[in-house]
């Protein structure tokens, strides 16, 4: 049984110009212990998906339809008090900016202990002990002393470690990590990703890793979902999505990335930009930019359907059932 199951999730923003549909019929699953990568252009709806799962959509955003199941229990319609017990306890979260994620007025010890005692039946002393262990585990030297320090006394990388410790404090089964390394230095990124991977493996937690960075996805994830304009364009094992994508968007995206090992005179580029939420074209949302657009792409919307090794929402896969040839990969 999968740990997390998202079914036909629709997230909407009512506004005076009509209701904006930011997530449209989104479905995917995460197995226990699995790392699912979520990639896509800015504004594709990655963060919203994460927020919807942890139940922290900012009003006026709301789940309009669809279901979210955690360990067989439906959580999208839980009352706030119960949802709070799910958050932190069963789903942990990590946000992009470690500096702003921590309350500057409280020591990290206090923030850790507060989180632990909220969820676990521990005394203050026990909670403190556990907090120190967590810090040690996330690689903070001299955790005994540092626990009483304040966030501003830590460097960016250390802070993100603290944030990871906080997310892991109550041993959640799932961690939603929304761009955990984007704000960090290139040289620290790898440290944090490695850490995240190892501690989650140790605690048996599954991770939903949201990022722009295909490189990070490539080396970290088991499976990857590519989002475009509020929908999943393609989802499948990481190797297959990178090397044998079925969806033209995925293919385009992969070839945009300058490769350190291969030198090219000209990068491939996908012309145009992702449509705004209020101007999503009918049919396949990618059709105005798609080099292989078919007639039906303009008015029929493709659902996710099995491609060769992945699932893709593209009529090409339905037609050919095979990877269209589109700028051969070297």
């Amino acid at each position: 049984m999968s740990l997390l199951q998202v079914q036909n999730l629709v997230v909407e923003f009512p506004s005076r110009h009509g209701t904006l549909r930011a997530l449209d019929q989104l479905s995917f699953e995460i197995a226990p212990g699995e790392i699912l990568g979520v990639v896509g252009e800015s504004g594709a709806g990655k963060s919203l998906t994460g927020a919807a799962i942890i139940g922290l959509l900012e009003p006026p955003g709301r789940i309009a339809s669809g279901q979210i199941w955690l360990e067989g229990e439906r959580i999208d319609n839980l009352p706030p008090a119960q949802m709070r017990r799910v958050r932190g306890r069963r789903i942990g979260a990590i946000f992009q900016d470690p500096l702003t994620s921590l309350n500057p007025l409280y020591s990290i010890g206090r923030q850790l202990i507060e989180t632990i005692t909220t969820h676990l039946p521990l005394t203050h002393a026990q909670a403190r002990q556990r907090a120190i262990e967590l810090l040690q585990e996330t690689g903070i030297p001299a955790a005994q002393e540092r626990i009483d320090h304040y966030p501003h006394q830590f460097s960016g990388g250390m802070r993100q470690r603290v944030v990871i410790a906080l997310a892991l404090a109550a041993e959640p089964k799932l961690i939603v990590a929304d761009e955990p390394t984007t704000a960090l230095d290139v040289s620290i990124q790898a440290q944090i990703i490695n850490l995240l991977k190892s501690v989650c493996k140790k605690h048996g937690a599954a991770v939903m890793l949201i990022t722009h960075d295909m490189g990070v996805i490539a080396e970290t994830c088991d499976r990857v979902a590519v989002m475009y304009a509020g929908r999943i364009a393609e989802i499948g094992p990481v190797r297959d999505v990178i090397h044998a994508a079925a969806h033209p968007y995925t293919q385009g995206l992969m070839s945009c990335i300058p490769d350190i090992e291969v030198e090219r005179q000209h990068l491939h580029q996908i012309d145009g930009a992702m449509p705004r939420l209020n101007a999503i074209p009918s049919g396949c949302a990618f059709n105005p930019r798609c080099p292989q657009v078919l007639a039906r792409c303009h008015h029929e919307r493709p659902e996710l359907m099995p491609a060769v090794t992945t699932e893709a929402a593209c009529w090409l896969t339905a037609n050919a059932g095979a990877t269209p040839s589109f700028e051969a990969q070297p």
């Binding site: 709070r84 017990r85 958050r87 900016d97 702003t100 921590l102 309350n103 007025l105 006394q153 906080l166």
Partner: protein, 326 residues
């Protein structure tokens, strides 16, 4: 830390000297105390003699230098109206104003902050809307009008509260307090409300705005994501962060309260410094005015200093030695 306080003090001295100087220059124009002292019927010779005696015939800067020299020693001279040393007068009046201002400040804070939190958390609810609208009324009503209307309703029509004065006071050492007698509190109600209303609404609106701002920050979102209870999030995390900027404004407002007390004290015949000042103005009682202005400046400076020190208590980012951080 020490350097900080020192710098503050230097600044304070600068402020106070400037205030004194400005005040002093202004006094040249507020009127002639001599005709007040001598009454209408005095002869020109008498007037000249008293002017000379008071040093009013000397150049302004000489008077100012003299004033500064004495003021540094806490010596502000004699009140021209009352024939009492100004220091004594102020000492007598200060408790009344301070009590009024403190009670009003307490009222403003104790009512204003919860209301601000409420209207921020329940943004959009009917009650919150009502509070917001009422609060606007609070900033739109001139203090003097509030005072007069309160007297009209609660003293004259209903007869619930006295309309003037401080009632019975108890002396503890040289300090007169009305807070130890029932009558004292009875007298305090209307003036305190009058004085508090403006500040109350201001604090409420400020807290609300700050709170809304803080509620949008990442660490609040992250606190929620950690499954903390609403109580812990709103009052443990959000409110404390809200209070940092609120403190500054509130600090300044408290000083403002003491100044605004001029109007309230005039309306309610509250025997405080404001009343003393207004009467000094109508009498051109220069020593009293000068002392009052310097005292107000001092109070502001002290409050500012306290607020700054409070920052150190509340915000760890300021507390830590620069070198040890990263």
């Amino acid at each position: 830390m020490l350097a900080f306080i020192l710098r503050r003090l230097l600044q304070a001295v600068l402020v106070m000297v400037t205030v004194a100087l400005i005040a002093f220059m202004l006094f040249q124009f507020v009127g002639d105390p001599v005709s007040q002292i001598l009454g209408q019927d005095a002869t020109a010779e008498q007037v000249a003699e008293v002017r000379a005696a008071l040093g009013l015939d000397r150049p302004v800067w000489v008077q100012f230098g003299h004033f500064l020299y004495n003021a540094v020693q806490g010596e502000f001279g004699m009140s021209l109206r009352q024939g009492t040393p100004v220091a004594t007068l102020i000492a007598e009046r200060f408790p009344a104003t301070l009590e009024l201002a403190l009670v009003a400040a307490a009222l403003a804070l104790l009512v204003g902050i919860p209301l601000g939190v409420y209207t921020a958390l329940r943004r959009g609810s009917a009650l919150a809307q009502v509070f917001m609208t009422l609060s606007l009324l609070g900033v739109s009503l001139p203090t003097f009008l509030i005072g007069i209307v309160l007297i009209l309703i609660f003293s004259v029509q209903l007869g619930w509260f006295p309309s003037f004065g401080r009632g019975e006071v108890v002396y503890i050492g040289g300090w007169s307090t009305g807070l130890l007698t029932l009558q004292g509190w009875h007298h305090l109600v209307l003036p305190a409300i009058t004085l508090a209303i403006f500040q109350l609404t201001l604090i409420m609106r400020l807290v609300r705005a700050e709170m809304l701002e803080v509620l949008r920050t990442d660490y609040i979102k992250f606190a929620r994501a950690r499954g903390l209870s609403d109580r812990a999030v709103h009052f443990g995390h959000a409110l404390k962060n809200t209070l940092v900027p609120v403190m500054t404004i509130t600090g300044l407002q408290l000083g403002g309260l003491i100044a605004f007390a001029i109007i309230t004290e005039t309306v309610f015949q509250w025997p405080g410094m404001g009343l003393l000042f207004i009467q000094a103005v109508t009498f051109a009682d220069i020593p009293v005015m000068a002392a009052y202005l310097c005292l107000i400046a001092l109070i502001f400076v002290v409050i500012n200093l306290i607020v700054d020190l409070l920052y150190f208590v509340v915000d760890p980012r300021l507390r830590v030695d620069h070198a040890s951080g990263h």
